[in-house]
């Protein structure tokens, strides 16, 4: 069906296949489950880093491995589908953020947080205990980025650690004296918030697709009353409702990536005046809103159709659904995104032409 396929599409398809194969080899249910104990899967991380996949989307001059946002987005969605127990999406976002600010990307796993103020302690930072944290903030002196490696922390270490429902580390990181603070272009903090939302949405999109795939397989294999569950109209109705949400999340995240990618660029990076661009802000908000909203619906139907077996520790479904339940609340729950987007919509409604010019992205 690749009628409109360009060379760039072909490269992306090849990349997607490479990532999916690598992740499929490593992210077996037993290894993903085991990683929740140690915090992550170091062997998987090494394999990803060796192939340059952890810094796609960031230019080579900054220490990245090149490629565009679409490449990075494809990798993040694949990580979500595989339930990869590593901060892959976080590292991709951090690399882009550092590169945008003209900073060199340090080696190893990275993570991003938005800080309210400079001396703040950042709550629930993904993989904070083992990744270099890139914190973005803005204040009277303008926007800034702080970089703090795990070894440089002035804390005793494990006090503020936590986990999400999937066992992924969510740790306190203090922006203490050891953090290097750099002035960053205006809009950097907003850009960081948007990248976090976008990459979280992509993780959800991948996981939602995986939940659907697992469920489709299950209802074809599992027989009751002498025939596969897939033959029962009530089951079909629920499966289709689930597919609708999955498709909606896919459409929304795809469009948000496109909106972000279409921002004006300078030297392959978003131009400074594009960092806070309204269209991309709304697109990413809408994508996260629908990803978070749909995540709960998808997880609920997946479990209902799997029956009791899906709720057990030994079944792989929970590796996906616990992530959906966690990720929907991270980087902006649907309630938060609905409210923010709703305020923007009501603001737009006072303009000539009402809501439509804003909603259609063509004022």
């Amino acid at each position: 069906m690749g009628t409109g396929m360009s060379a760039a599409d072909g490269e992306r398809e090849l990349l997607r296949q490479t990532v999916e194969d690598l992740l499929a080899g490593h992210c077996t249910p037993s290894r993903v489950a085991a990683a929740a104990g140690s915090g992550w899967d170091a062997a998987l991380w090494r394999a990803l880093e060796d192939t340059g996949l952890t810094l796609a989307g960031s230019p080579e001059e900054a220490g990245g491995s090149g490629g565009d946002l679409l490449a990075a987005a494809g990798i993040a969605a694949a990580a979500g589908a595989a339930a990869a127990p590593v901060p892959l999406a976080e590292t991709l976002a951090a690399g882009m953020l550092l590169a945008r600010a003209g900073l060199t990307i340090p080696p190893g796993p990275l993570t991003v947080a938005v800080a309210r103020e400079r001396g703040a302690t950042l709550p629930r930072v993904p993989y904070g205990r083992l990744a270099t944290t890139v914190a973005a903030g803005s204040g009277e002196g303008g926007d800034w980025l702080a970089v703090i490696a795990p070894a440089d922390r002035d804390e005793t270490g494990q006090s503020g650690t936590g986990r999400n429902l999937a066992g992924e580390p969510r740790d306190e990181v203090a922006l203490g004296g050891a953090a290097e603070v750099h002035a960053a272009p205006t809009g950097t903090a907003d850009y960081a918030r948007r990248l976090l939302r976008l990459f979280r949405s992509l993780l959800i999109a991948g996981a939602a697709q995986r939940a659907l795939d697992l469920t489709v397989t299950y209802v074809q294999e599992r027989e009751q009353f002498g025939r596969p569950l897939a033959k029962f109209p009530t089951v079909q109705q629920e499966l289709a409702r689930m597919a609708g949400e999955v498709a909606l999340i896919a459409a929304a995240t795809q469009a948000a990536v496109a909106a972000e990618a279409s921002l004006p660029e300078e030297d392959g990076l978003p131009a400074e005046d594009g960092l806070a661009a309204g269209d991309a802000v709304s697109a990413v908000l809408a994508a996260k809103a629908q990803a978070s909203h749909g995540a709960g619906i998808v997880a609920a139907i997946a479990h209902q159709l799997h029956g009791a077996i899906g709720t057990t520790e030994e079944h792989r479904l929970r590796l996906t659904t616990t992530r959906l339940w966690s990720w929907r609340d991270e980087d902006g729950s649907e309630a938060e995104c609905f409210a923010e987007l709703g305020r923007a919509a009501l603001g737009a409604a006072t303009q000539a032409g009402g809501l439509w010019p804003w909603l259609s992205g063509s004022p």
Partner: protein
């Protein structure tokens, strides 16, 4: 395990899209200012205005994808999408030419004989030729292959007898595009022996009776065909291929912006009313909920439109657009009811009138074009077969 996405990628807008959009908006603003139409919910079903259709035709905005040699404009499917969604978002009266523009034109381009193309396409592009769809029958609703209207072979054509129902606009349309049985089913293969014929409505043997909706409006009809002669040249495509032809049309019918925007005018009015309450968190959240869903649903619809334009057949995605979109059209009504003090009044202005239109039209959203339950069955079977 088979993995993959449900959706084709969204294609970029053509370079002409932005300019075209502005032109349509200017035209619509002028029409509204001149009092030529009042924005209404579900106006693609209820807003029959032949002079409006002709003015659109004059602008080149009907039958846009029809090539110039047949009186059309050779524009792309996505350019048509721009025009159509602008018209729908404005609640403009597009019902008269709706079926001609959305499906009969493309259908004739794909399957029609040279005679049929010459006969109908130029008038369609002028916004002056209107069609009704003859699919449903008294005993063939969701079970479309159960149609009993028959065409019997006679010298030079077919004699058609049977009854079609829910034929929107048949009392004003020029012709009916009908699915009927021209041959026996092949055992249990009921899709065999069905054909598509274009039947002129102003001729002996055609009786059209109104079916009045609960709004009091007259859109639907019962069309009784009593030994109506239809010449061979009015056969669309190939005798016996009717089922395949009709189902290939359905992807267009199910995935267009009309499956999302039937109540957009109500949402727009609501947002206008609430604009002064932007600090009201409940209002913002409720509006944000439907707005984000509408935005995402539009991206789904666009993804399917782009794939269709490239000759792909994304049937599952098309069915999903209709299921998600029409449920959203209903959700918008519920959000409006929660947030406005207005109550539905068919004679009321503003919110009251729009609410009345929306509430009374709403049951149709998830029925027309294949009920959502039937569509979900198609989706589920498609997923299992992937």
């Amino acid at each position: 395990m088979r993995s993959g996405t449900l959706l084709p990628p969204v294609r970029p807008w053509p370079a002409t899209a932005a300019g075209l959009r502005s032109e349509v908006r200017e035209f619509l603003a002028a029409e509204r200012a001149a009092g030529r139409f009042i924005p209404a919910c579900d106006a693609w079903l209820s807003g029959w205005d032949e002079s409006f259709s002709r003015r659109l035709g004059d602008r080149g905005w009907v039958g846009m994808t029809i090539p110039a040699e047949y009186g059309g404009h050779g524009r792309s499917a996505l350019e048509r999408y721009v025009v159509v969604e602008e018209l729908l978002a404005a609640g403009a009266p597009v019902a008269a030419h709706w079926v001609s523009d959305r499906q009969v034109g493309p259908n004739l381009l794909r399957y029609g004989s040279e005679v049929l193309k010459q006969r109908y396409l130029p008038a369609i592009a002028q916004g002056a030729c209107y069609f009704a769809i003859g699919l449903s029958e008294p005993d063939a609703g969701s079970d479309l292959a159960a149609v009993r209207t028959t065409g019997t072979r006679v010298d030079g054509g077919w004699t058609v007898s049977g009854t079609k129902v829910w034929t929107s606009g048949a009392h004003r349309a020029h012709a009916l595009i009908a699915l009927l049985r021209t041959g026996p089913p092949d055992g249990r293969q009921r899709h065999v022996g069905l054909s598509q014929l274009l039947i002129e409505l102003d001729q002996p043997g055609v009786t059209i009776r109104p079916i009045i909706s609960m709004t009091g409006e007259h859109h639907f009809n019962e069309v009784v065909l009593g030994d109506v002669f239809v010449p061979d040249e009015q056969v669309v495509g190939t005798i016996g291929d009717g089922w395949a032809q009709v189902t290939s049309e359905l992807a267009y019918e199910r995935s267009g912006p009309e499956r999302l925007l039937s109540t957009f005018v109500l949402l727009d009015a609501l947002a206008g009313e609430l604009a002064s309450r932007a600090g009201d968190a409940d209002a913002a959240r409720a509006v944000g909920r439907v707005v984000s869903r509408l935005w995402a649903g539009r991206q789904m619809s666009l993804a399917v439109a782009g794939a269709l334009a490239d000759g792909e057949a994304p049937e599952i995605a098309a069915a999903l657009v209709k299921d998600v979109g029409t449920r959203l059209e209903n959700e918008i009504i519920e959000v409006a009811r929660m947030l406005t003090a207005a109550v539905p009044d068919p004679e009321g202005a503003g919110m009251a009138g729009l609410l009345a239109q929306a509430v009374l039209h709403a049951p149709g959203f998830t029925l027309r074009g294949g009920t959502n339950e039937i569509l979900r069955g198609i989706v589920a079977r498609g997923l299992a077969l992937r």
